[in-house]
Symmetry: C2
Subunit: 304 residues, 2 copies
Amino acid sequence: MTDTVVSSDRKEVVIGFERPFCVIGERINPTGRKLLMEEMKKGDYSRVEADAVAQVEAGANMLDINAGIPLADEPAILAETIKLVQGLVDVPLSIDSSIVAALESGLSVYKGKALVNSVTGEDERLEEVLPLIKKYGAAVVAISNDETGISEDPDMRFEVARKIVERAADFGIPASDIVVDPLVMPVGAVNKAGASVFRLIRRLHDELKVNTTCGASNISFGLPNRHGMNASFLSMAIGAGMTSAIMNPLHEEEMTGIRGADVMMGRDPDCMRWIKKYREPAAPVEAGAGGSRRDREGRRRRRA
Amino acid sequence: MTDTVVSSDRKEVVIGFERPFCVIGERINPTGRKLLMEEMKKGDYSRVEADAVAQVEAGANMLDINAGIPLADEPAILAETIKLVQGLVDVPLSIDSSIVAALESGLSVYKGKALVNSVTGEDERLEEVLPLIKKYGAAVVAISNDETGISEDPDMRFEVARKIVERAADFGIPASDIVVDPLVMPVGAVNKAGASVFRLIRRLHDELKVNTTCGASNISFGLPNRHGMNASFLSMAIGAGMTSAIMNPLHEEEMTGIRGADVMMGRDPDCMRWIKKYREPAAPVEAGAGGSRRDREGRRRRRA
């Protein structure tokens, strides 16, 4: 049973084997969002603010913050974004960059214990990122690829994760502060991607005893009905032992898949969170003949 | 790797470890359907016929047939219903009754290799039902309860299943002709019901090496948003090794959970069934400004 504790200055969140699944909101990331990118570059953070609030309202337990903008001062923009978001919402943040100077800049302004996203199994990255994790007392996402790339063999990826955990221990970082990303491949390209990643998640849970996360929507890349597939993937990944995901909490199907899986795993005592979310509203007193559409659907569902 | 082969006179269906999930349509069952009950009692099978066709069109791979009507001639009605349904659709049937004489009556008119639903671990039931299974060369659903009732301990239920498999072997019935129902309890009443049944399904798959089925909607009894919860349950149960379920194939959310899980388990080669089901229709050529609602949703989904 492993708990990874992260925090803001006002709130502690635990990613853990016996905890409700941890949803890390992915929206504050200019990659592929041209408008957001231009705004952040100009110092306009209105969309960042709206995205922060909307994601937390939708149920995000943490937010990922990425400021990867080509030819911009990423360390400065990342720090600025973190300060702003921490002033607005109380959930802990994941500091997301491929540039080590940006990670350090973000960590230097962050209040609480952050999750750093990410380090890979490449020796050079490990030597650069792990000292920062130790210095700031942070937790870190460990991506299970290395100099040789991403192996299609889940057991090879397991060995990369084990190497990162061992190297971190050399720096005095406990395994409980490492959240492994097993790397989710698109099932439309790699037909065994689902089965492979479940096997890997199970080994990471049972043998390496670490928490796990992933970019959940990767699984459905290029396929129709992505939300339906993501929801099914998330339920199954939680069944296999996955404890968090970086994802869009505004997508209701995916969130239902997660809430259902939390119930199934016995992590929603007496189904109270499920019932609170989905219980039928009381029938409106002044409804016209036949009631509102919502009311009709409510009745239909009760008969199901 | 275990295959349970069932058939009609025109079609073979295999429930198996490496096969797409087998959906057994549950609708032809008068329990709790007063109108259907009265009609079947009077010899009016129009609703049975409509239900048979609709379920197969919705994706049922088999149909369960139950004629449990109090104070009626169940053996005669069950046989009549089976003959009628076999004339109408080509999927194999599950012959469902708690009355042994009705099971025999159904088996005597059935064309092909039926699935008999069900036998329990009670000695008296085993002595009555197993000879019938052997005589007609059928497969059978084995429910994991016995004289002592339904244990809340999944390991006790495993032992009941093992007993049924051993007793069946005494009658010359192979384990591959036994589909174990691990018994799904409502998670609203038994908070550990999900985790328990996944553990049991995994043991039945890995140790006893038998196929499994269940009444899937039991899991969500008494809770709101039953379809969302059932979908999540089905995906996770498939991940744990469940190979069929008795359920309503007209419910889209549940079917999406199953199709997604089949993709995840690598049982939908190149995602062809998923893509065929969910691919976007071509944009209509003569759509007005803004296109149809369906078209707008299509575009939104493509951006997701």
